[in-house]
Amino acid sequence: MLNAFLLLEEGKEEMEAKHLVVIGNGMAGMACVDEILKRKPNLRITVLSEEPYYNYNRILLSAVLAGEKSVEEIYINTKEWYDKNNIFLCRGVKAIEIDAKNKTVTTQDGSPVSYDLLLLATGSNPFIPPIEGTNKEGVYTFRNMADVETLLERCKTAKQALVIGGGLLGLEAARGILNQGVKVTVVHLTDRLMEMQLDEVGGEFLKREIEKLGITVLLNSSTSKIMGNGHVEAVMFKEGAIVPADLVVIACGIRPNVELAKRAGLQVNRGIVVNDYMETSDPNIFAVGECVEHQGKVYGLVAPLYDQGKVLARTITGDKGPKYEGSVLATKLKVMGIELFSAGNFKAAEPDMEVISYQDHAFGVYKKVVVHQDRVVGTILIGDASDANRFLEMIRKNERIAAKRQTLLFETPPAVAGSPTDVMSRPDSETICGCIGVSKGQIISAIRENSCKTVSQVKACTKASSGCGTCAGLVQEILKAVAGADFQEEKKEVFCACVPFPKDQIRIMIKTQRLKSVQDVLDIYGNGTGCSYCKPGLSFLVDEVLLGEHKEERSARFINDRVHANIQRDGTFSVVPRMRGGVTSPEELRKIADVAVKYKVPMVKVTGSQRLDLLGVKKEDLPKIWADLGMTSGFAYTKAVRMVKTCVGTDFCRYGTQNSIKQGIDLETNLEGLYTPAKVKMGVVGCPRNCAEATVKDIGMVGIEGGWQVVIGGAAGKRVRAADILCTVKTSEEAMEAALLFFQYYRENGEWIERTYDFVERLGLETIRRETVLASEEVKKGLLERLRKAKAKAVNPWAVESKAPVHPRQFKDFVLPKDREALIEPVLAGDGTHGNGK
């Protein structure tokens, strides 16, 4: 590190540029640097970052904890950004001393860094209340990426978590932990959750919503002691009650991180004191963000940081512009399933303030607008925050509202759930992204100038929705309207319009909330009815995620899966028994022949999958045929493991180098009976002559001299695609393990009806290798263990349901004898309408 600095120091004379050193690599600091860069300054920029990460979106840490986003997804600026802008980023380097007189910063490894201009963006630290036992193992804060990584790790084993603090951060932490499958209790000191943002009624509404998620809430509870022998075991309250917990998160608020500034002799009260130009008491030192105190106010939210950054960028680049005049405080709770927004003076504390409000307990909707002298000064929205920006705009603009007062709460009639609010009817000046401060007009011109097609492109050039992200829906609406036919959905699409969440998120919901049936998922997160796409898809997901412990609902399955046969164009079915590796016997052939004769099967066909197909079977004959055959279902009718084709291999072939028949039969035996996102066809060949076409199969094995190549993502269907080599190994066991690893990885990560050949191209071979054959032993063990558990639950449905159908009428139609005239009565006028309920 030291050398790097020396190099910089040496180059200084030639460059003439002033050296701007930024302490802190968080949202405020980098947003300000971004603004500075826009002004193309003659500056050399060094950033000292205590955290070892690139600049990430701290607001979205809760989404990472909740499993809704990955770490990569919340980076605001990646390495490329620093490189492109010649910013020298020192990661994991802590500044420990500022010498304002000599204009140097000392880092923890002792290297001095001299500056011309110094920007303090040190943010804030979590406040740890003076409770006994906060140093015990298992007690954490929730403030940075390292905290989230620790919490995610701990959630794997924790049974009962307790969050101290029912503010914004505490509730987001609780939701995240719940999503990781750990029971959560939130304890809060006062009688109201989020009392900084909510009034009494709002607090009640929020408490009900939080409890609906399955989180226990304890109000008026003052924690007195964290108990446990080394590791936390329970938490005790002032009134004596004890709640067991093996994971405790302290979320009691934040305090500006002002230590450095204080020691450097800057004026510091609660925060580092700055004037309207964001200058500190030292002319060469500036400050921005949560560490700052402006006109007696300290802000812990994102929007003010951006406001401040814009002002400071002008100050630093020697172009002092408009003053910073403080920000309207606005908060959005980012907890999946709860909409909450609060802004401005929501309490209506002044005597001449009026309140306009609406409460609907059944729908959990609370809307409150505080009006003062004909102007909106504050709002609380719970359950439906779609008007958040409209009210925020009114507060910021200080506009008179007498004319629209009657329709203030509901500008348009209350929206039907799921229908988008019409953003295009709003004025261009309206702010869409409240965090960054981007207006509708700015978004529209950015879309036109840059020909944006996706929301992420809009995000990249305007930064809109890169804050808390809740305006992404509005941005999309605008993009759709402006880009028209050019609009493209993001890659991460929702599973189905009936359940509008990405597949990964639905998997988490199923897992953490143990949603056992398709109907549960549809009722809680969807439209309740589903369709022919998502019902079978969700049937697969509940099965896959719960490893076969789901509740089977035949009504959500396609007819093929209801009767374990493939429906044909005339409504009859086909029957394909399993013939592992394409190997059969005289006994099996005899049984198949007998069945074909007995049930008058119109056609017997050799399929492309090295097995036999009985075509034209009536539904009611299916269980009888299965019983007569006594064979295993070939699953030739569904999205599941189909078959393994093999060549003759070393058993008979004079060219064979590997025993492909045995390996193929073993592979089929290991995987048969398992369902997959789309059908999986496999092949094993004993030599590269590839007689069973293994290189155009979803999973293939190719015998080579002294080993096997395991190949994936091949296709010879609608598309033809040569498979990619996953790995080359020496033994049959290694080849088998590689195939099983990929199989389970695909089961867990493939999109519904995405074949492996699209899956491999979407994720890339390198990613797949890294996550399967090149993954850590622990990851591999996890994949194989989940596969083992799922396989243990897999059955041969023909054997089970030929004896015990899931319903007495599963295979039987109704036949009305024509001679039942006696029971027939004429339909009288007005007698029974269509669809008469029971």
């Binding site: 022919s532 899931v806 109704f814 009565e825 029971k838």
Partner: protein, 127 residues
């Protein structure tokens, strides 16, 4: 004149599934929506797919052959293409489900096994 025919008993059709009902050579489809029963012709207007084997979505069914969506209330195709099937009144009396129709107005059964052998749909015959 339509008459009420007793077709099935409550509980004989699994919830949110349909079943085919033969009346001589003719047939209809009877669906159990959970809180009510609805009946339609059993042949999709597109390629005569058996609607009784479809997936239900609210008061509509998706044909198992090519995914046309048919309203069970009006019989109209809601997606896939343009077409309509007949709908029949249903009532439940003392555990017995009645459907009203006139003899002869029901559709012919979907192709018998006899037509299979020559013309197979090769799209996904399994294998």
């Amino acid at each position: 004149m339509r008459k009420w025919y007793p077709v099935a008993k409550e509980g004989e059709i699994p919830k949110k599934e349909g079943r085919r009902v033969y009346f001589g050579d003719h047939e209809l489809a009877l669906f159990n929506l959970g809180d009510e029963y609805l009946a339609t012709d059993n042949r999709c207007p597109h390629k005569q797919g058996p609607l009784a084997d479809g997936i239900l979505a609210g008061k509509a069914v998706f044909c198992p052959l090519h995914n046309w969506k048919i309203s069970l209330e009006t019989g109209c195709a809601l997606s896939g293409g343009v077409g309509q099937v007949k709908v029949y009144p249903v009532k439940v009396t003392e555990n017995e489900i009645f459907v009203a129709f006139e003899e002869g107005e029901l559709c012919e059964p979907q192709g018998e096994a006899a037509v299979v052998s020559t013309e197979l749909d090769v799209k996904d015959v399994g294998g």
